[in-house]
Structures are given as structure tokens and as C-alpha cells.
Symmetry: C2
Subunit: 239 residues, 2 copies
């Protein structure tokens, strides 16, 4: 079974939702047969690259609130994170364009290190308030996740690297009807929006598992003169 | 779009079929949006571990042929490989149980090196007739594919490592109706058996692409009081 999770690393509910999903998955009996894939979603794709500001400033401006009210909003998110056992600072992390982070996460995916890097980026952003919009910080996290330093720096420096992968993920999110994140998709059959409680994820996994059917495949190429040659399960190979 | 390819490294038509598929994929306009996953299939799961013999001996015995006839069968396969630009020796490669090779390929998958290792194993087995049933040879190929030497050796030494992944792939092949390999599955909708000509793969990819529909997802968790909290595409996060 395959679970795809669309998220943005600037989204605190994605950080919390990932932890809740993982708790829900840990309680699912067939967890070993679940493959998890993380996909890209930008909350603010129009945000200028290389420009960062504090999240509380952004919240105050966007909602017309005072800085104290903006800090209270962050405190509320922090308390939800703490309830999941996650560290979370509410002092005013950086806010910025996340496109390059998504590109780097795609390199990590190609190298089997996606989950490691995502956890490290979330931790840096929310628990440590290190600026993940700083290429040096990102390169350090990439190495910590097990990526090759030269390769990670090359991807960060080359704006075209993994751009199609990020855009492809975002197009699929739109096709699947996602309007926000986190967005969880089970076997392309069930969709779950938001950082639901862990039990909701466990029940959803059970529902998807029980209703798992293998649709008959349409055969291409077929039998007969033009058919491809292969080896059958007895080890007999056609000639 | 996702293409899954079930194969056994002891299957010459899988080696040839992979090359043909890759040619077909190279001619497909949307090739950048195709993800290829290799899955395990054992042609002879009952073959004893650690026991190897020559393929021509096996063919002669299995089909009641003379050794010259068995060599002619291999020559015929070799000529098909050569026609695809693949090297292929027909002198009598080793034959044996491929389970450990599949386990190692799953480690490579987890590290983003599956395709690299599969190509190296095919090459060693068919083009160089090095015994891929020798753990030392396998460990060397793993390092050449970019895997960590210690990790590769640990997986080869631990018979339980990635066993569930190999068995899971084989169970899925059976559920999907595969009775031999290579077996190609496009988006879990189309099945292609055998090492078909490259043009068949290109046409199949085009057919799968054009008929690609995004099925509406069933929503779990829903809206209302119990709904999960998230951030929407305007960057607004619920509280």
C-alpha cells in the first residue's frame, strides 16, 4: 500500500501531522507493507526567493493582528506540537520561499534519504528556528541526512535541478483536489486533509487495506506471434 | 506515471526486456514524468541456496537436450541481446537461487541505487559470466553501485533483511496475474508480458498516458469539528 503525503516545510500542521500520521501508522498491523512517499506543495509559491522575514511579522500583517496576537497564534500551534512530543519554538522563525527546499527533498528522495532530510528540515525550522532558507544551513542538513555534500550543493546552485519533480507533485495535488496541506492520499483512493488525530490515520489505513482490490490489468502486447518473450515461473524461457 | 517491472536477474529476457523498455521509454515524450520501480520475482524459488551449476547443464537436463543443443538455445538468446546492443556471453553462466540478490536489490532501492545495481548484476551475469551467486562478487557490485560496503555485507549476511519486501513483491505479482517475467505494469492499469519490442512499450506508455484519469478520492476525516487542521494554499493556517 502506498501513502503519499503532500506538505510544505513552512506548514506547522504538516510537521505535527507527520508525527500524528506516524503514530497512526505504528498502530496499523500491516505497517511493514506501507510505503510512504513525500510530495511537494508550496503554501506561497509567489514569495520572492532569497527574501525572508519573521513568521510573526507575516502573521501580524496578513491577519491585521498585533505582534502579541501573532505570537499567541504561534503559541497555540506550539502547544499542539508539544502535545505530540514535538519540540517547537514560538519566538519567530523565518518565513520565505520553499521551492529550493522541495528541490533538495527530491534529490534526497532519489537517494533514499527523503524522510531523513524532511525530519531534519522540520526540526531545524520549528524546533530550533534555524533559517532553512539559508543555503548553508540546508547544505548542512543534507549532509546530516546522508547526502553527498557536493551533490547537494550542486542541486541547490542549479535552479533547474528537480524543478520538474516539484512542479509535477504540485500539479498532481491540484488534480487530486488538494487545496491545502498536509494532504494524505492512500493508494490513490482515499484522501485525508489536515493533521488529523493518530487514530483517524490508523482507521483510514485499515479501511484502505480492507477495501484493497487488485483491479484486473488490461493486457498490452498480448499473446501470439508478436508477443514478447519471457521466462515463466518454472524457469522455462521462451526462444 | 509509475511503471513497475517484475524480473529475475537469472532471466535473460528480463535483461533484454529492460533494454527494450528503456528504448521505448526514451521515445516517449513524457518520459521525465515516469517513475520506474523494479520488483522481485524468482523463477526458481525452490532452488537450494549456495548451490550453483552451469546454465547449459540445467537447460540440457530440464529439456532433455544435448549440451550442444542447450548451447544453441543460449546462442539464440545471445543473438537477441546483441541485436539490442547488449553484451552477452553464451559459454555457460552460473545458475542458482536468486533470493539474496533480490534482498540486496531492495537495500539498493532504499538507498536510491536500485537501477544502478540491477544493471551491474545483469552485466556481471550475462555479459561477463561472473557468478552473481558468490556473495563476494555481489558485495563488490553493491559497492560499485554506490552502496555502503558494510551495509551491503550486513544485508547479505542477515537472511531476514528485506525478506518481507521480496515476498511482498512476489505476492503482488501473483495478485496481478503474472506467471512469468519480465512483467511490466503501468499505473496498475496495464500489464505487458515479456520482452516486447521497444515500440510496443512506447505505444503502451502513450496509451496509459492518454487514458490517465484522476479518480475522485474518498474523503476520510472530513470537515467539521473533528477535521484535521492544516494550512491552505494562501498560506493561512488553521488554529
Amino acid at each position: 500500500m502506498r501513502v503519499e503525503i503532500w506538505s510544505d516545510i513552512a506548514c506547522p500542521w504538516c510537521y505535527i501531522g507527520k508525527a500524528r500520521f506516524e503514530k497512526g501508522l505504528a498502530a496499523f498491523p500491516h505497517r511493514e507493507q506501507v510505503e510512504v512517499v513525500h510530495r511537494s506543495f508550496e503554501l506561497d509559491p509567489t514569495g520572492p526567493k532569497g527574501v525572508t522575514g519573521s513568521v510573526t511579522d507575516m502573521l501580524a500583517k496578513k491577519y491585521g493582528r498585533t505582534h502579541e496576537e501573532a505570537r499567541a497564534m504561534e503559541q497555540h500551534v506550539a502547544s499542539n506540537a508539544h502535545a505530540e512530543g514535538l519540540e517547537f519554538l514560538a519566538e519567530g522563525r523565518d518565513n520565505g520561499n520553499t521551492f529550493d527546499i522541495h528541490r533538495l527533498l527530491h534529490l534526497a528522495k532519489a537517494r533514499g534519504r527523503q524522510n531523513e532530510l524532511l525530519d531534519l528540515v522540520y526540526r531545524a525550522n520549528f524546533a530550533e528556528e534555524r533559517s532553512v532558507f539559508d543555503p548553508e544551513v540546508l547544505a548542512g542538513l543534507a549532509v546530516e541526512a546522508g547526502l553527498d555534500p557536493g551533490e547537494a550543493r550542486a542541486v541547490l546552485a542549479d535552479e533547474s535541478a528537480y524543478t520538474d519533480d516539484v512542479r509535477g507533485d504540485e500539479r498532481e495535488a491540484a488534480e487530486l483536489g488538494a487545496t491545502g496541506v498536509p494532504f494524505f492520499v492512500l493508494d490513490r483512493r482515499y484522501g485525508i486533509s489536515g493533521g488529523q488525530p493518530a487514530e483517524v490515520f490508523t482507521r483510514a489505513l485499515e479501511q484502505a487495506w480492507q477495501s484493497r482490490t487488485v483491479a484486473p490489468l488490461a493486457t498490452i502486447g498480448g499473446a501470439g506471434a508478436g508477443a514478447g518473450v519471457g521466462c515463466d515461473a518454472d524457469g522455462v524461457c521462451g526462444v
